[in-house]
Amino acid sequence: MEELQGRWHDLDRLLLRPGNLVGPGFEPCAELRDLLQNDCKVLVIGAGGLGCELLKDLALSGFGNIDVIDMDTIDVSNLNRQFLFRIHDVGKPKAQVAADRIMQRVKGVMVTAHFCRIEEKDVDFYRQFQIIMLGLDSLEARSYINSVVCSFLEYEPDGGLDYSTIKPMVDGGTEGFKGHARVILPGVTPCFQCTLWLFPPQITFPLCTLAETPRSPAHCIEYVHLIQWGQDRVGEKFDSDSPEHMKWIFEQAVKRATQFCISGVTYSLTQGVVKNIIPAIASTNAIVSAVCALEALKIATMCSKGMDNYMMYVGTQGVYTHTVSYEKDPNCIMCSPGVPIEVDCSCTLQECIDTLLNDQRFKAKLSRPSVSFQGTNLYMQAPPILEELTRPNLRLSLLSLMGGNPSGGVLNINDKKLHGVLRVRVSFSKEMDTT
């Protein structure tokens, strides 16, 4: 398509002119616009409140090749902020409608929609993008993408990071008048796993309180939701999107509340408690998404220095932001060059695998690990032929399998429970076993 003369007039000020406050290696030139238009593929995960804004912001920042993935369909309650959707779109896939609206309004941008769960795409799908933007509302989804992106990382034997394997992620999140934007350069800045403690703990109620001593409307609702449903509607799976199901929960919760002289159970509160609804408004999503998209522009072009690395926005009392440079966890199981473990130098490969399986840090992450060292398979769980071939190694000394270097090295662990490779940095205990 022929470009309209002067359309990128404003953006060009940043792309075509040199500056003293730009990112490393910034070279002002017209090719930067081509890069954005044609070469830099961006993935937007989530086409909700943040996703809609991100798509618009990226398209109007010159990005011409965008993919968007979302498993949801449009609901009426999205319309107060997800501005790409109209009332007649209710029920349609978010990703598709969002992609169509953006392409309709912003000429020359190609938005490809994926109406599916993020887990349905394989690792190679994610590998094709230069930047991944996250507009998600759950820790689980973030963790999944994090593990995929960290699995791309490759380290030199000396622990040095291969910078070409970094897949930058920009993450946004909002709740009411508050939000955050962060830039994750895996291996350089902390990944989600490094800063898991940033996520607030989920509020849950003790079951005995729900069952025996309810004191609040929420206690009554959760009782019906978690306990009474299973007793009264045996075999039926509760579906929070079913109006009939929700109405039943509400009515039973009112009954229970009345019985305990508790007031305040409403339909809206019932929905809020059962679906764990997070309040959301247009302005906060707009602010956070725009900060994220601008970071993407800076990562792609270096036209200004990037954010380091986590910004919080608090709009509840006045307007406040603070940017913190978080530090990564040097022993992170996702992004570090290797999680340290210490084994005895007489340890066999089998014993080492047992150690891994019993290690709290890897709990629920490993079931049948395969082990390799510097490209050589030490033990493979599958296929059967390889398993048989590598089985004798299990009884051999790990130290000798790792080339006899007493200072140890990094083992790569694969497991079907892992989304990528787990790097384990083995060190051998001091006392040499002379027998």
């Binding site: 408004i281 707009a286 725009a290 932001t321």
Partner: protein, 644 residues
């Protein structure tokens, strides 16, 4: 109605039906509909304002298609106001949409009364001179004005309004007002019905912690001549007295009692902000006083005559491990007391209204109740006029900002004003033409120096890099920057939805008080709002005092404030930084040396705390001795929220 409620469900959960109703009554006037204005209005239209009118004389040009989502290619060459208006209307059919193809400046000259019919005027991308006049006009007509400006990678939002009264400030971490230290007779009688030494084990572990603490506190007072525990030794003794009543280690109500024991000796205090509202001259009621100030006057009477200086009880109690019946009855005792307090305030309101010959029923009980419930967090914000801000009167503040400010925010503020002066002088913005770029840097620098001289700031200079950067921007309106600035402007607008001529409804959230400026460069994005202006002009002593008043409540802003002072006001302590976020610091208490707690140990910087969700890293010790006088702090008694 059902569809409306569904559509707005996610925001009704924040501001409720009355907030939404106020929003639906708002009529907004947007001046200039570039991306900054269009984005601001977009967010308001989605939220469901009543109506809007766009004022913009320009046509859709090629550059608009590269930075504004609310124009389309079909509109090229047509009225921009019409295009934006039509595309905004698509977003929400229930919003009234109008446009005027005229220049805001011309309209301001020819028909200033045009603005009187709006709730709110949002002025975007307008120069200083026109804004001063607009501010004057809007103040005369009691219309709120929001100024929003995007300029390259920088921007600014400014609120102009005579007075903003906040009733529902919705604090992040509401304080429990339990009056454990001085129970009223009904609470005492209720507590007396319980035997906290009950032999029945189940009974013993289901007595709410508030009852335990009131009992132990009453016993303590009886044994100590009516005094509450003071000093670390006595407080430890008090806790031991609570602990002694435990019958086993896993009694949840006792765990809660110990975690909340401090509430006995550190009940919530009246903040300096509330004091200043109560002492405001507007509290002298006369025939033109607004409902808000009548309510404040009635509150003041209540505190002096009926409540021994205390605020009305809000009636809310936190969840406590307890039998349902005990909890519900305890809740009722608190609620009854709150209702009685509302009645007392209501009687004062009526007597004031009669005194000024107004209908004594003109302020409803529900309004009074709402007011009493939120009394602890009342705020009044008054905004300086733009004329004052641009006069030498404000020079000393700018001077101080330049002196202490580590980051470049004040310089950006100066530069945003300098580019307007540049435009007034040269009839164009700096950096518009590539060939004059270098020359413009020198011109802009000269203007900055003049500007600083004019407002009486001596010896300050603006970074050359920033001056070049502003020339590089060439007045560009970058979409993402516009979206942030427009987003903040719309968020501020929503905090003021009910500002009406009758002034009988009040606002829900605290707005930002003053200017904030932001830029994306170096390592951070910085936006400065109310906290910035509140704190920056105050000395550390005053600051410590503010902190002290807040101690005892779990206030996120407190932590933010502290980070702020450590980082900016005391550059020597800049190495201390809090690695925590709003999501996880809510369970930290902050105390200052010399405060109520006389046993504060001294830490330079921030004491490292590692617990579940919070992690503070200790960095360098403070090299400057004197700062220990005011800024020594500690985090202690990490509050563990009840766990499952």
């Amino acid at each position: 109605m059902a569809q409306r409620n569904n559509k707005y469900d996610r925001q009704l959960r924040i501001w409720g039906d009355h907030g939404q109703a106020a929003l639906e009554h708002a009529s907004v006037c947007l001046l200039n509909c570039g991306p900054t204005g269009s984005e601001a209005l977009k967010n308001l239209v989605l939220g469901g304002i009543g109506s809007f009118t766009i004022v913009d004389p320009s046509r859709v040009e090629a550059a608009d298609l590269g930075n504004n989502f609310l124009v389309s290619w079909e509109n090229l060459g047509q009225s921009k106001a019409r295009s934006v208006c039509a595309l905004l209307q698509e977003l929400n059919e229930s919003v009234g949409a109008k446009f005027v193809e005229e220049s805001p400046e011309a309209l301001l000259d020819s028909n200033p009364s045009f603005f009187a019919s709006f709730t709110l005027v949002i002025a975007t991308q307008m120069p200083e001179k026109a804004l001063i006049k607009l501010d004057e006009t809007c103040r005369q007509q009691r219309v709120m004005l929001l100024v929003a400006r995007s300029y390259g990678l920088a921007g600014l939002v400014r609120i102009c309004i005579q007075e903003h009264d906040v009733i529902e400030s919705k604090p992040d971490n509401p304080v429990d007002d339990l009056r454990l230290h001085k129970p009223w007779p009904e609470l005492k009688r209720f507590v007396d019905q319980f035997d906290i030494d009950a032999k029945d084990q189940l009974e013993h572990q289901h007595i709410p912690f508030a009852i335990i603490l009131v009992k132990v506190a009453e016993e303590w007072k009886a044994a100590h001549g009516g005094r509450l525990p003071s000093g670390s030794k006595e407080r430890a003794e008090f806790k031991a007295a609570v602990r002694a009543r435990k019958q086993s280690d896993d009694e949840d109500n006792y765990k809660e009692a110990l975690a909340s024991a401090y509430k006995v000796w550190a009940p919530p205090t009246i903040s300096s902000e509330l004091h200043s509202v109560l002492d405001d001259s507007a509290v002298e009621i006369h025939s033109t006083s607004t409902d808000f100030w009548i309510l404040v006057a009635a509150l003041k009477m209540f505190m002096a005559n009926d409540a021994d200086g205390d605020l009305p009880l809000d009636g809310a109690i936190p969840d406590m491990h307890s039998y349902t019946d005990y909890y519900i009855r305890l809740q009722k005792v608190y609620q009854d007391r709150a209702e009685a307090n509302v009645s007392a305030v209501e009687a004062n309101v009526k007597s004031i209204l009669r005194k000024i010959a107004r209908d004594s029923l003109s302020i409803s009980r529900s309004t009074i109740k709402q007011f009493c419930k939120n009394a602890r967090n009342l705020r009044v914000l008054r905004y300086r006029t733009l004329a004052d801000e641009f006069s030498p009167l404000a020079a000393f503040k700018i001077q101080r900002l330049l002196a202490v400010e580590e980051s470049s925010n004040v310089e950006i503020y100066i530069l945003l004003r300098a580019v307007d002066q540049f435009a007034a002088t040269y009839n164009r913005y700096p950096g518009i033409f590539d060939r004059e770029l270098e020359q413009d840097v020198l011109r802009l620098k000269a203007i900055c120096i003049n500007l600083l001289n004019d407002i009486g700031v001596n010896g300050a200079s603006i970074s050359e890099d920033l001056i070049s950067e502003f020339c590089r921007f060439g007045a560009a309106e970058i979409h993402c920057v516009a979206s942030v600035i427009g987003g903040i402007a719309s968020q501020e607008a929503i905090k003021e939805p009910s500002y009406t001529m009758q002034l009988n409804r009040h606002h829900q959230f605290c707005s930002c008080r003053c200017i904030f400026v932001l830029i994306w460069q170096s390592l951070c994005v910085s936006i400065f709002g109310a906290l910035y202006t509140n704190i920056l002009f105050k000395t550390p002593e005053v600051y410590a005092h503010i902190m002290l008043e807040h101690s005892g409540c779990f206030n996120v802003n407190l932590i933010l404030l502290f980070t702020y002072v450590l980082t900016y006001v005391h550059p020597y302590t800049a190495l201390c930084s809090i690695t925590g976020s709003y999501a996880c610091v809510y369970n930290i208490e902050v105390y200052i040396k010399g405060g109520r707690d006389d046993q504060v140990s001294t830490y330079h910087g921030i004491h490292p705390i590692v617990n579940g969700n919070c992690r503070f890293l200790q960095r360098e010790a403070c090299p400057r001795k004197s700062c220990s006088e005011h800024l020594v702090l500690r985090f202690f008694e990490v509050y563990h929220p009840p766990t499952v």
